[in-house]
């Protein structure tokens, strides 16, 4: 069994209650932080831990915290991004419903470190039942003196507010989230200014993912150095991986970063292997936005070395042969999966979720969806393939927020690695549109 920093107590009955969470050592980190540490000391430990943003971007959290502007007399805000909507990702959903106090405790310590007296957890509106779980946890923490005025007699005040979203993937982008939190449409903002200078209500703001905030208690209890000792290189600590698709054991797994991809896929501790009786065709390693790769390139890089579940190893080879860890949304495809259909499905998602602000994304996502739709339904022509590559290239890097890139990468990578399957669809329209028909020429693992 590898180290479990976030999920150690997830199977303890009653862990969603304050009482059981406290018995398991919960809230000790709040006591330590507010009674024995200065805010800067807390920030220092988080910096030392090397923990990187777990929402997908992987930016070092301590560094993000250190960018927060601190003008005199201006309130500062911490906003937790619980708008988990990236296809393939359901780890925050799991963590919040299972062990809500872990997030609440992390929010208290992080808010203390940043000097925020009003903090928000923005949860996607679909997870209203999880919002009720979090609200109950907040009430319990407040009753025990860990939230509210003068926490544990330290003189520090904190109010924690749960904010539901309204159903929009784009609000996972931090400036769109802030717009939404202000009661507006989720249109991402131009940067600069960055939220660290002008964020919520034009005040300095830090936005962190649920899983990132949830690591803070362990870091305070055990020290940043202890956290940095877990993992590999600049991929410190553990990561929650949401595993779905054609595997024997879908679910949420906590892995030590640096675990081999082969062990993650095949060991019984994690995915339990590709669906029994089937073989691996392709993998999306970090949520729908990251490049899809053939199974063999997930397990080994282009030099034939074993690939590891880490930020660096998964992106080794760039977009030619690598991918990204992203949000840790692992999706496995066996030989029954149609890459063209899946690419069309994802492109429909991005078309639906584009906020419409930037023309390349608004128009381009729709064009890609339409072209993929006609290829999938037997009406494509060979020139459509290069047309898709061209449109994807013209979206990438030309939009205010990364949704444009996120829409372009799955299409570009699917064509890069599975071009023959697209060609087969176009050349054999009658066969390709038969129910259950799949291109059989793919290399399987």
């Amino acid at each position: 069994m590898s180290i479990k920093i976030l999920t150690e107590h997830c199977n303890t009955p009653g862990i969603e209650t304050f009482e059981v969470y406290r018995q398991k050592g919960g809230y000790a980190a709040v006591e330590k932080a507010v009674k024995k540490m200065t805010p800067d000391e807390v920030i220092e430990e988080v910096k030392k831990s090397g923990v990187r943003g777990r929402g997908g971007a992987g930016f070092p959290m301590g560094m993000k915290w250190s960018f927060l502007a601190k003008p005199e007399g201006v309130p500062r805000y911490l906003v937790c991004n619980a708008d988990e909507s990236e296809p393939g990702t359901f780890k925050d959903h799991y963590l919040m419903k299972t062990i809500p106090h872990l997030l609440i405790e992390g929010m208290i310590i992080s808010s203390y470190a940043l000097g925020a007296n009003k903090s928000f957890i923005y949860v996607r509106g679909e997870l209203m039942y999880v919002i009720h779980i979090l609200e109950k946890a907040i009430e319990e923490a407040k009753a025990a003196g860990f939230l509210g005025k003068n926490i544990l007699g330290s003189g520090y005040d904190l109010e924690l507010i749960i904010q539901p979203g309204g159903g929009a993937y784009i609000c996972g982008e931090e400036t769109a989230l802030l717009e939404s939190l202000e009661g507006k449409r989720g249109n991402p903002r131009n940067k600069p200014p960055f939220p660290a200078v002008k964020g919520l209500y034009q005040s300095p703001t830090v936005v962190n993912n649920v899983e990132s905030i949830a690591t803070v208690s362990w870091i305070i209890n055990n020290g940043g150095d202890a956290y940095a000792a877990v993992g590999v290189g600049k991929s410190t600590g553990t990561k929650l991986i949401s595993a779905s698709g054609h595997i024997n054991k879908p679910g949420v797994y906590e892995i030590e970063l640096g675990l081999s991809c082969d062990e993650f896929l095949n060991s019984d501790e994690y995915c339990g292997g590709v669906r029994t009786g089937h073989r691996l065709k392709a993998v999306v390693a970090g949520g729908s936005s990251v490049p899809i790769v053939p199974g063999e390139l997930f397990l080994k890089n282009s030099n034939g070395e074993d690939r590891l579940m880490s930020y660096e190893s998964l992106s080794d080879g760039g977009f030619v042969s690598g991918t990204m860890l992203g949000s840790g949304g692992f999706i496995a495809f066996d030989e029954t999966a149609c890459i063209v259909r899946n690419t069309w499905n994802f492109s429909r998602f991005y078309e639906h979720e584009s906020c419409g602000q930037c023309s390349p994304c608004r128009e381009g996502t729709g064009w890609m969806q339409k072209v993929l739709n006609r290829i999938e339904h037997g009406k494509g022509s060979m020139s459509d393939i290069d047309l898709l590559v061209d449109v994807a290239k013209k979206i990438e890097g030309n939009t205010i927020c990364p949704l444009g890139d996120a829409a372009a990468w799955p299409v570009a990578s699917a064509i890069r690695h599975f071009r023959d399957e697209f060609e087969w669809h176009i050349q054999h329209p009658l066969e390709a549109t038969k129910a259950g028909a799949v291109y059989m020429g793919a290399v399987l693992v």
Binding site: H93, G125, P164, G183
Partner: protein
């Protein structure tokens, strides 16, 4: 035409709404808009113009500020809906688990297509994007409840139970 006179929150909901409005910093009360729209939908089922105008009046903002928000986010129903709104995930990972086949079965079971409401007004069937339950798919949501690991038999049982 909507009869706006009937659009008033129950005292209990109004108290909750006032509490919500008060929790944001002074002058930032518009932040309560999305949460209030959820409460409004809970009581009035959908976002008629009357409902949106009422919410605008509570927040002292222009009605258009409510319309543009209600129409941007997918959870707010802009048309009347049935008693149970089934929001069915159509995104990749659920599809890999047989989501499309189960959706076809659900349409047959209800006798309606996506976007439609059954003639008895009991069910509305909507397709939605990823519900963050990819490892537990196929899935759909009815109000706050998630229904996961769906198959044809499970779908039949759920529909029959809700039809009672």
């Amino acid at each position: 035409m909507t009869d706006n006179n009937n659009i008033v929150f129950t005292p209990q909901r109004l108290a909750k709404v006032q509490e919500m409005i008060a929790r944001y910093p002074e002058g930032k009360q518009k932040s309560a808009l999305l949460p209030i729209l959820h409460i409004a939908q809970e009581q009035f089922a959908w976002m008629s113009q009357g409902v949106m105008d009422y919410v605008a009046s509570l927040l002292h903002i222009m009605p258009v500020e409510v319309y543009e928000v209600a129409s941007f986010y997918t959870m707010y129903h802009l048309e009347p809906v049935g008693k149970h709104v089934i929001e069915y995930c159509r995104t990749g990972p659920c599809v890999l688990m047989g989501g499309e086949e189960v959706f076809d079965h659900l349409q047959q079971k209800l006798g309606i297509k996506k976007g439609e409401t059954t003639s008895d007004g009991l069910f509305t069937l909507k397709e939605v994007e990823c519900l963050a339950a990819c490892g537990w798919g196929p899935c759909f949501q009815i109000r706050e409840k998630y229904y996961m690991h769906l198959n044809n038999q499970k779908v039949d049982e759920i529909i029959e139970e809700l039809s009672k």
